[in-house]
Amino acid sequence: MSTPSTQMMRSLKFVKRFDWRQNIIYVGFVVVFILFAILLGDSGFTSTNNLLNIARQTATISIMAVAMTFVIATAEIDLSIGSVAGLASVVSAMAMSSFGLVAGVVAGLAVGLVVGAINGGLVAWLKVPSFLVTLGMLGLVVGVARWITASAPVPIADATFIQIFGGGDFGPLPSLLVWAVVFVAVGAVVMNKTKFGRQVRATGGNTQAAMFTGVNTARIKFYVLLLSGVVAAIAGMLYAGRLQSGRFQWGTGDELSVIAAVILGGTSLFGGRGAVIGSLFGALFIGLVNNGLILAGLDVSQQQVVRGAIIIVAVALSSKKKTS
């Protein structure tokens, strides 16, 4: 969107904003963490177990946030991820119960591939707004999940699946944690050190300019939405492993948390930027707050109030930095 400018002021504003957009989340994370550690020390907030809990509870969001960072970096959006996770969880559970582990995983991934391809195809080549396409998809996909399961859970017995997908541990670490770390690491490298990542940000920064430069912007948009679909499917299987069953509700509403994590992390909804690590901390920040507030013994309404306040204050402070 933005084009050249020659005022020092504006440049400086941008520099400053860029800085805080990059860093506020880390600051916020540390501050809140320390606060909770002090206030909730005796509630076991800092116990290894609880810290692992936070990691576990934010793993699926973090993973989807990595993919969403790419989508938003191209100035598109994917609202269907929550539903895709739900459908993938039931489809893989069903396939598994009849044809075993491998079939189950393949089927789950297939869900992500198909939905992602449709989203991507419509946005990339028919040039329709991703907000609407993926919003329609959100309803359609969850509907399918309910339809084929009659809204009932599909139990998963396969121990290996549960062990690998979110249920078990790899050595001392919860498998969920490992999944998250791998996704974030790969995502960060791809975004910052590969042609693809570069072209993703170029597409979001100025689609037309990117096209003139020989970036196949349509294909880029197709890929990021495909990716987002597949990753959502994996997240769905992680839910399934964790809850030892597939169900259409797994992942419901995650899209908002994921987008929030990405933006908190410093990626702009208007595209051109993509802070993968930031997104991870955005997710951790949200998880941290949720965990702390529940530990603090607040009831649902109070949790909502404080959680909202914390986000607003964090955002507001971040800007104070800028103008000071």
């Binding site: 050249p4 042609k195 940000r201 170029a202 096209m211 430069t213």
Partner: protein
């Protein structure tokens, strides 16, 4: 048609229409290997369109294109790049959110181990290209933080990095100051020597004579002239461009009689941003004050500060003897100021809004019928302005983005002159405007001053400054270093030296 020497590019009978408005009609254009071929014509004549067809951005309706003897289809930009055609776009092809070096190597990044981008190498190469061009830039800066001039230079560096065999430069110097322009010309000589063929689009006659071997002129989307520059006079070229004999350029005339003694604007010890410090000068009713300086010298920052976009942190500003602290552009406008900004696309226009809406945005108060805006008044007002500034547009409800570069600039100028300001500030107003219109604009500037308004004019084209200014301030590193009466400036060279600080 000419057979030898072999042609780098041969475009035959090219026609193109946009929603049934013809823009190019059987245009022929040829470029020899190692030749620099100038392409000229009025704003809207079809130059960029022809080049975008060669670049695969637009598809021709009919006609044939050969590159190095091969017929090429040029269905998209990839095909064109594959055919070895690189382009310096008039509306830049750069990504604001990427750094200079990332832009330069976009899609052509040097790869290191594991197929990952070798940042170090890319940065080094980018720096080399700029050194080669004789320009100092921080290649790790984000584009969105840089001024127009640097965008233009980056755009050029990017085209060079593609080491294309055919290089299209669409008004590469539109907002470059003299010394960057010179650096560019030396570069072009070197490229020629390497057998690279160059198409050079410009509205500046002196540049055309300086770099080009041949020239082709388009008028209303048709061939008007193709000749060796050795064989044509500037007058002939201008005639071909505007389609009639044109009275010579505006020349300086002493207007001191028309300039009143009392200052309409008095700036004292003004400081702003990081670099603007201790600026003091008076501006009188009826006066045209020129600002000269190198890129980054602070001219734009000065006018932006006076217009309330940047906040002054020191000094005082008086208008009509009253001390004012200008809060924002709205406030500035209410005080009778107007600013034609340097960067038309970013600061002058809402690109996807119609020509009509852009022209009337600052005038809405005067276009009411009762409580509500009157569509009829808006349409008529816009029509008048389009006529006054001979803006070439098929339909005034067309998005301004679809106008030619120069015509976009005219919309910005028109919109501001429409507000009938008492102090008019113009930052590179004639960048990208064709010769005929440029003269009209300068004449208009003089008229405006003549009926008692005051004008501040920023231009990197010294002849232009010298032709209309009554007084010229030279800025360097954010300070006023010289303050000349026009009469005391013997020659362009003299001013050039002052600007360079030699």
């Amino acid at each position: 048609m000419s057979t030898s020497p072999v042609l780098a590019v041969e475009m035959t009978d090219i026609t193109k229409a946009f929603n049934s408005v013809p823009v190019l009609r059987e245009v022929n254009f040829e470029l020899m290997v190692g030749e620099v071929h100038a392409l000229a014509g009025e704003n809207g004549a079809g130059k960029s369109t022809l080049m975008k067809i060669l670049q695969g951005v637009y598809q021709r309706d009919s006609g044939e294109v050969k590159v190095l003897g091969e017929v090429v289809s040029l269905t998209d930009t990839f095909a064109a790049r594959a055919a070895g055609i690189g382009m310096v776009f008039q509306e830049f092809s750069l990504i604001p959110t990427l750094t200079v070096w990332q832009n330069i190597f976009l899609t052509a990044e040097p790869l290191g181990k594991f197929g990952l981008i070798n940042d170090g190498l890319a940065r080094k190469k980018a720096q080399e290209i700029f050194d080669d061009m004789g320009v100092a830039v921080d290649v790790t800066a984000l584009l969105e933080h840089l001024p127009t001039a640097l965008w233009q230079l980056t755009e050029i560096a990017k085209a060079l990095a593609q080491n294309a065999r055919v290089l299209i430069m669409d008004e590469p110097t539109a907002s470059l100051a003299k010394h960057e322009t010179n650096a560019l010309f030396e570069l072009i000589e070197r490229l020629k020597a390497r057998g690279i063929s160059i198409i050079y689009i410009s509205h500046r006659m002196d540049e055309v004579y300086r770099v080009a071997d041949r020239i082709t002129v388009l008028r209303d989307g048709q061939n008007a002239l193709t000749a060796k520059l050795a064989d044509v006079t500037p007058a002939q070229i201008v005639a071909a461009i505007v389609g009639r004999e044109m009275s010579g350029n505006l020349t300086y005339e002493d207007r001191s009689a028309r300039i009143s003694k009392d200052a309409v604007l008095r700036v004292t010890g003004l400081g702003s941003g990081r670099r603007l410090s201790n600026i003091s000068f008076d501006l009188h009713r009826g006066e045209i004050l020129g600002l000269a300086g190198l890129m980054g010298s602070g001219r734009t920052e000065l006018v932006n500060t006076l217009f309330g976009i940047d906040r002054a942190h020191a000094g005082s500003v008086e208008i009509d003897g009253k001390n004012v602290s200008i809060r924002n552009p709205g406030h500035a406008i209410s005080l009778g100021l107007a600013l034609i900004p340097e960067d038309r696309r970013a600061q002058g226009l809402v690109l996807e809004h119609s020509v009509q809406e852009n022209l009337t945005l600052p005038l809405l108060d005067g276009l009411k019928g009762g409580l509500l805006l009157s569509t009829q008044k808006i349409v008529e007002r816009a029509r008048e302005m389009i006529a006054t500034f001979s803006i070439k547009v098929a339909d005034q409800r067309m998005p301004v983005a679809k106008l030619s570069g120069g015509n976009q600039q005219k919309v910005v100028i028109g919109k501001w002159l429409g507000t009938d300001p008492s102090i008019l500030m113009m930052d590179e107003p004639t960048a990208g405007v064709d010769i005929g219109t440029k003269q009209e604009i300068l004449a208009m500037v003089r008229e405006i001053a003549d009926d008692g308004k005051a004008v501040i004019l920023i231009s990197s084209e010294l002849p232009e400054l010298l032709s209309v200014s009554d007084r010229i301030l030279v800025l360097r590193d954010g300070e006023v270093v010289r303050n000349f009466l026009r009469a005391d400036i013997p020659s362009e060279e003299f001013l050039q030296l002052a600007v360079q600080g030699a």
